[in-house]
């Protein structure tokens, strides 16, 4: 394959990575924005979503689409409820103190991960995609006869991957409507701006926190349900999404939602493109250091505003 089609293939893979990443990072960003909580266990909620998808899909059986749709409905809700429960049980009692919250969520990370290891086991388990038709994509060429389209061998994408991109975009629009147009969004934004005043105006801040924590985890789980048919479910799969989501949230500016979306696209696309052309380890080293530098020299993120 020549460079042009190769680049297009990399960009398509990058778009799929971005789609999953944007959901995961959104969850992290909302939790940080509203609650000021850095949730280190976020990657494990992602992993739980994937593992639950496998459980649901194998329990239901039959046509792959049946299990997939069921998992799409069940897994995020279940993970969200679990997260809300953990918030009630642990985070609420330590009063969301920043240092202790980080330590507690590190503890939650190991509890979730190791419990999964004990029940689900150490194997990676695949989930069949609900539909998976391969579409060949055309590429153009300026030849001697002028502009011509051709179908290079290997340049293709599956319908399922296109579905992932579309689904992520739909969820994102839904989230935007929820946050800006509904009363729930209003309550969340009020809590974010000043939780004490919100409480004085009758907003049940404690319950809002639990819902937000659940919503954040649910978004991560949703991303995982979408990714499982491409990647397999494994008990250690939460590490990479956590790191990437952190990077996205930092680059986008902690707590800034539009920034998060743009950063997710940027990071996902470059991850897809870089890993096609360069050594993945070197790319990761450079990316990690760059992000740390962003946090050191531009703590408000690339798109965030300076705190007044």
């Amino acid at each position: 394959m020549e460079f042009g089609p190769h680049l297009m293939l990399a960009a398509l893979e990058g778009a799929v990575i971005s789609a999953i990443l944007v959901l995961t990072a959104m969850g992290l960003s909302i939790v940080f924005g509203v609650m000021r909580v850095v949730n280190v266990a976020h990657g494990e909620f992602f992993m739980l979503g994937a593992v639950l998808t496998w459980f649901v899909a194998t329990t239901i059986g039959g046509h792959p689409a049946l299990g997939f749709v069921a998992a799409l409905l069940i897994a995020p809700v279940l993970v969200g409820c679990l997260a809300a429960f953990a918030d009630r049980l642990i985070l609420k009692r330590i009063n969301y103190d920043p240092d202790r919250t980080i330590v507690a969520t590190i503890g939650m990370l190991y509890i979730i991960q190791q419990t999964t290891l004990m029940t689900f086991g150490p194997e990676a388990r695949p989930v069949p995609p609900p539909f998976n038709t391969r579409l060949s994509l055309p590429w153009f060429e300026w030849g001697e006869e002028g502009f011509a389209l051709f179908w290079p061998w290997g340049l293709s994408i599956t319908t399922y991957k296109l579905f992932v991109i579309a689904a992520a975009a739909t969820v994102l629009v839904g989230l935007w409507v929820l946050l800006t147009k509904t009363k729930i969004g209003l309550i969340m934004r009020a809590t974010q701006q000043d939780s004490e005043t919100a409480q004085a105006f009758g907003v049940p801040v404690g319950r809002v926190y639990s819902w937000v924590f659940g919503l954040g985890a649910g978004l991560a789980a949703l991303g995982a349900v979408l990714v499982v048919p491409i990647q397999q479910a494994h008990y250690l799969m939460g590490g990479d999404p956590l790191l990437l989501a952190f990077i996205v949230v930092i680059i986008g500016g902690l707590g800034s939602l539009p920034g998060t979306v743009i950063a997710a696209l940027l990071i996902g696309m470059s991850d897809g493109i870089i890993s096609v052309f360069f050594s993945p380890t070197l790319a990761k080293i450079i990316a990690t250091l760059l992000v740390a530098m962003v946090l050191v020299f531009r703590p408000q993120g690339l798109l965030g505003k300076k705190p007044s």
């Binding site: 190791q114 004990m118 740390a292």
Partner: protein, 314 residues
């Protein structure tokens, strides 16, 4: 007896007890105890920064690993004599701490934790990237010549135990002394109220950096000691769990106490040792302990003791 006297009796007593235990314990447990002492050095290094200065780093594995690889690689590849390699390893860790600390200390709070975490992640990936020399996850064995000093073989049970005991003792007493010095008191002042310390005229950023470098150097020394005594160097010591462990030990034992790190490592080590006999998911115990500690005993064991019965505990 004065608080000062009691404190020296305690430190001396702990060291005497550890010395005597070698002759009492069966080989398996004395082996474990030498490992515990080495890891307690690491925990004490972490404690300087977290317990006394109030800075939570989530990336200390990079210093532990810097010491470990600084020692192992120079012995194996450059053929440095053991003491030179050991000092070199500490210098490498201190230099890394100077750079990482200089950058990370420009941030505070949550950002500081994430920046240190990312530096450590980058360091881990660097170890994997240079797999040709470091042999990545698989690791390598430190050459036998590098594990001798003045004719004493440090790979025997006794050599290992007493070398660990000496190094642990030096750090243990030095730390107890350090916190009584004006420098240590200034670190505690920064932990309690940085604004006020700065208002009183202390250059807090300089002291924080000094604490960071000291902490990194001690952690690096622990890493080098681990490589020296157990003869194995591997990438898993640079990975995220080894940044979380010292936090766990120090929290369990009691942050900001001299004896806390040893107690924390001891309990955690045996807790994991016992539970790994039943399940391979032994990190579950670590998670549970972390959550329970933050919920019910944020002071840790020694911290609770200090609060209730022994107010003089250093």
């Amino acid at each position: 007896m004065t608080a000062h006297g009691k404190s020296w009796v305690l430190h001396g007593g702990v060291l005497a007890l550890l010395f005597a235990l070698f002759f009492v314990l069966p080989t398996y447990h004395s082996g474990q105890l030498s490992r515990i002492m080495v890891l307690a050095i690491y925990a004490m290094g972490f404690n300087i920064l977290f317990g006394y200065t109030g800075l939570l780093s989530l990336g200390h594995a990079m210093f532990f690993a810097a010491g470990m690889y600084g020692f192992g690689l120079t012995v194996n590849l450059a053929g440095f004599p053991m003491p030179v390699a050991f000092l070199f390893a500490i210098l490498v860790a201190a230099a890394l701490a100077l750079v990482a600390g200089g950058l990370a200390l420009r941030t505070a709070g949550v950002s500081f934790m994430i920046v240190t975490l990312m530096f450590a992640q980058a360091a881990y990936l660097v170890v994997l990237y240079f797999g040709e020399y470091t042999r990545g996850d698989e690791g390598f064995v430190v050459a036998r010549e590098g594990r001798m000093i003045a004719g004493i073989d440090l790979s025997t049970d006794a050599g290992r135990y007493f070398c660990a005991w000496v190094l642990f003792g030096v750090c243990f007493l030095a730390l107890a002394k350090l916190i009584k010095l004006p420098f240590g008191k200034r670190l505690i002042a920064i932990r309690e109220n940085e604004e006020r310390a700065r208002m009183l005229g202390y250059d807090t950023s300089r002291y924080k950096l000094m604490a960071f470098v000291t902490s990194g150097a001690v952690s690096g020394m622990a890493g080098a000691t681990y490589g020296l005594l157990f003869g194995y160097v591997g990438a898993s010591f640079a990975a995220v769990p080894y940044s979380i462990f010292p936090l766990l030990w120090v929290l369990l034992g009691g942050a900001g106490t001299t004896i806390g790190p040893l107690i924390g490592v001891f309990f955690m080590f045996y807790l994991i040792d016992i539970s790994s006999g039943y399940t391979n998911a032994y990190m579950l115990i670590a998670g549970l302990v972390l959550v329970l500690l933050t919920l019910f005993a944020p002071q840790g064991l020694a911290g609770s003791l200090r609060q209730k019965v022994m107010p003089w505990l250093p």
